[in-house]
């Protein structure tokens, strides 16, 4: 897409595609996982030709897609997320200005401290969900161990379920203008100044492209 006037590119095509693959596979995994976890939601299995068996098989296969997509996510965002600096500590002290009125929210780079934390937790649970999922699919361990994989997998549902809702809120109507980071990629300079001022300075000075 041609560069729109007065807008600035916030994410590369690579980032956007990875984000959509993660989002799509994650939602599919939640939907099919809930169809297996809750008897009250087992009707979800009826939407699949072949029923619950195919739903479970697709859950496993899409789990692999999610697992691989996250490796690309690490390439895309790892270097900007897997650390905290002084500004991030200050950001946490005021919770980014999300919970109470603050005079000034500490400046953020491409990602603020909350987003970094989100990515770190996602990193941890990516490992837990894919790791437990594979050995639930192919239970090569003794039953005494395998039954604890079910517990860990369910713990992941608790954490990722809550995170998903908050992530969706903060990426859409909680922060107007943010969704296009995942959409066509272009945001206003006002948005960039508000949300990632350090990054904006770097981009404008030519120190980084996106």
């Amino acid at each position: 897409m041609a560069k729109p006037k007065n807008l600035i590119l916030s994410s590369t095509v690579f980032e956007r595609v990875v984000h959509w693959v993660l989002a799509g596979s994650c939602l599919f995994l939640f939907l099919t996982g809930f169809g297996l976890m809750f008897h009250s939601l087992s009707f979800i299995g009826n939407f699949f030709p072949g029923g619950h068996y195919i739903m479970k098989l697709l859950h496993n296969i899409v789990g692999i897609i999610f697992g691989i997509a996250f490796l690309f996510a690490l390439i895309a965002w790892g270097k900007d997320t897997l650390y905290f600096d002084e500004d991030d500590k200050k950001w946490f002290r005021v919770m980014g200005g999300y919970l109470w009125e603050v005079e000034k929210v500490p400046e953020a780079g491409k990602f603020n401290a909350g987003q970094k934390m989100f990515f770190m937790v996602l990193f941890l649970f990516w490992f837990i969900m894919v790791g437990t999922g594979i050995f639930m699919w192919f239970p090569i361990f003794p039953p005494e161990l395998t039954r604890w994989l079910y517990v860990l997998h369910a713990l992941g549902v608790v954490v990722l379920g809550g995170f998903l809702v908050i992530h969706f809120y903060l990426g859409t109507y909680g922060n107007p203008g943010t969704f296009q980071v995942m959409g066509h990629g272009y945001v206003t300079k006002g948005w960039a100044k508000k949300h990632r001022s350090k990054w904006l300075r770097d981009v404008e000075a030519g120190r980084r492209s996106v």
Binding site: H39, M136, P143, R147, Y150, V151, I166, G177, K194
Partner: protein, 258 residues
């Protein structure tokens, strides 16, 4: 209630394995290739096509040779069945009025949750059909007033079948009559099993017999704690973000800079 119990008095068992054959016959289970492992136990373990197995525990004797302990091994049909708690497909593992725990193989998706949570390690996964199989307590017989095939065929009367209370009383009377280390196994855990043993020796003497079986703690954590908590977490996040929007409001980009 029409609860029934199968009582296995191993002191009367002669290890003829007629019950193994009768089980295969009634349930139309094929014979399998087996392995000689230097014991009379055959096949070596329960399989998707062997739901009933006489185990041979060998106790070495001081004067040489061995003493055998026989035990007919099959599903215990727990009142509080871990497999049923874990099964993800509604109606796939169900309990009959008599207390039999049955897997509806039509509905089974081969997730193997039941295999991994069973305190008695009974269900077996068939990698060819991708389904799990185990003893049904001949639910198709007992539902019609008959007794299970294994009980029907048992010559020495080691396997009997009848109303729950009567069989429990019979079991305790028999254990008392045997004296010594004889115990009744099955009425004290998982809210009672619908298969019980009279064991002349201590429980730990019998191979592969769980000493104090229970629904695993992990099953409670998984199904009774984390499962509802996941709904709570998602619900709390939805309510929280909603109130955040109407109380604190969205974070709008500053004007200018465009």
């Amino acid at each position: 209630m029409n609860e029934k119990v199968m009582l296995i008095d191993v002191s009367k068992c002669t290890a003829c394995r007629g019950c193994q054959v009768a089980c295969k016959q009634w349930n139309r289970l094929p014979a399998e290739k087996t392995q000689q492992r230097g014991t009379h136990q055959n096949p070596p373990d329960l399989t998707p096509a062997t739901w009933n197995l006489v185990r041979f525990t060998e106790i070495p004797l001081k004067e040489g040779g061995v003493r055998w302990l026989f035990r007919k091994d099959n599903c215990m049909h727990c009142e509080d069945a871990a497999c049923q708690r874990a099964c993800p497909v509604p109606g796939c593992i169900f309990k009959t009025a008599e207390g039999a725990i049955v897997i509806d193989t039509e509905k089974c998706i081969g997730c193997e949750y039941c295999v991994n949570v069973c305190p008695f390690e009974i269900p077996r996964f068939d990698s060819a059909t991708k389904k799990v199989y185990k003893c049904t307590l001949c639910w198709d017989r007992i539902g019609n007033g008959q007794i299970p095939a294994c009980a029907k065929t048992c010559g020495p009367g080691a396997v009997t079948f009848g109303p729950k209370e009567k069989m429990i009383a019979q079991a305790h009377a028999r254990a008392k009559a045997l004296g010594g280390d004889a115990t009744v196994y099955g009425d004290k855990f998982v809210q009672g099993t619908h298969v019980m043993y009279v064991l002349p020796e201590k429980v730990r003497m019998y191979e592969k017999l769980a000493i104090n079986p229970s629904v695993p703690v992990s099953v409670y954590l998984w199904k009774d704690f984390l499962k509802p908590v996941s709904v709570l977490a998602i619900g709390a996040a939805l309510v929280g973000t909603f109130f955040h929007y109407i109380i604190k409001g969205p974070k709008r980009p500053e004007e200018g800079g465009e």
